[in-house]
Assembly symmetry: C3
Homo-oligomer: 171 residues x 3
């Protein structure tokens, strides 16, 4: 199953993936909905979230869904809207910290995506191309995110690897 | 020199590279030989190795060669077989831990590949795209693996970068 | 604005990016100038720098510019020369350690590139595709470098992602 009008922007830290995903979303007609998974645990994150929100501008409505992303997609994925999920990595991180069942959450995400009736763009961080982390939790996270990326990439219409603000079309 | 019917799947953690390499191998006629370099040092690795072996199914014969990969390739690389090397990163890691001569081992690998008389598919982890590790041994490993990847990529017919279960053809 | 005859080689550790960038530079007519940003803080770096210099051979003149890269580009970027900047990551690291204003330095670099009257090739390490570093300084570095890569990639004529000694054309 491939979800119509869906794309996935996968890239490294500060690769420009969110900006490119936003531009993709803004190219569709429809009310722009930003599904934000980021949670501010400290001043660094609070600043980053506020800066991103300001950068997006007033056309965007923000829906916070740190762990309940599938539910938010189901609720907001209606005709006349355009969804931007930013980002899957933070969602996975929030689930891991909440000790949630990652396989079940992934299933719920796929089923939510399958039911979407509007364009949907997903963003995520590629985190698996460095040295194996010392930390067991970081290794588990890396594995969870890797698996998540594979199933999302298999579900969407187009997949882009973002490098230095430029895209490599992968699918 | 380019080795006929040889391919190299390079990707991150949980990128799907082993699965894609396996599918490539299974597309050839011949007896499937899995050249396994992984060693189980702890429960996490034991589980992972057992899961991978079960996933491959009964068509595959597994040959363990944690450090003696070149010898295994020479012995098994005969007409009527198909070799899958999974993976070069673990081989390099085993060599580093055994304090082996990496340059000599790389030469032995290249010379084994040059003599192969059947299809051969190699898998490895790209580990060089993160922050420079604090740890000197990790830095040396990263350098060794990077050099190894370069010479292998220069030797095989096709090179694929695997991202989110999808391939980017690099060569 | 795109700078004529400019290219950017972005890759991981030991990916072969410097070698490929060098070959690109040597393909141009002109006196070869190596703009070196590396600083030797320890024996490991001293060795690496000396080895790289020997590898380049006698056709190259080396100009050290650990922090004053924009000034070196302005001074050396004259007709009849070919510039190789190796690498932006170390430049950014030197600036960070010197507590310099990264945004101002990036502006100075772009303006130096805009004024160059000869071919210029830039090399950098992609460092953003691993797990988020524990260390706040490493995170800031990763962000700074990511932003720097985006603006440089937007400025040059061609951008290559280097993997295992091979290039993926990104722009």
């Amino acid at each position: 199953m491939t979800v119509k009008d869906s794309s996935f922007f996968l890239g490294g830290a500060r690769s420009g993936k969110s900006r490119l995903a936003q531009q993709k979303a803004e190219g569709y007609a429809g009310a722009l909905v930003y599904l934000a998974t980021g949670q501010a645990f400290d001043a660094e994150m609070t600043d980053r979230i506020a800066r991103h929100r300001a950068d997006r501008g007033p056309r965007w409505r923000t829906v916070d869904c740190p762990t309940d992303l599938p539910q938010a997609i189901m609720r907001e994925g209606v005709p006349g809207q355009v969804l931007l999920v930013d980002c899957l990595t933070l969602w996975a991180s929030n689930l891991l910290l909440a000790d949630a069942d990652m396989a079940a959450a992934t299933e719920a995400l796929l089923s939510a995506l399958a039911g979407v009736r509007c364009p949907v763009i997903l963003v995520s961080n590629e985190v698996g191309l460095g040295i194996v982390p010392d930390n067991a939790l970081a290794r588990r996270f890396r594995d969870d995110v890797g698996r998540l990326h594979q199933v999302v990439a298999a579900t969407v219409e187009s997949v882009f690897l973002v490098v230095a603000g430029l895209t490599i079309r992968v699918r």
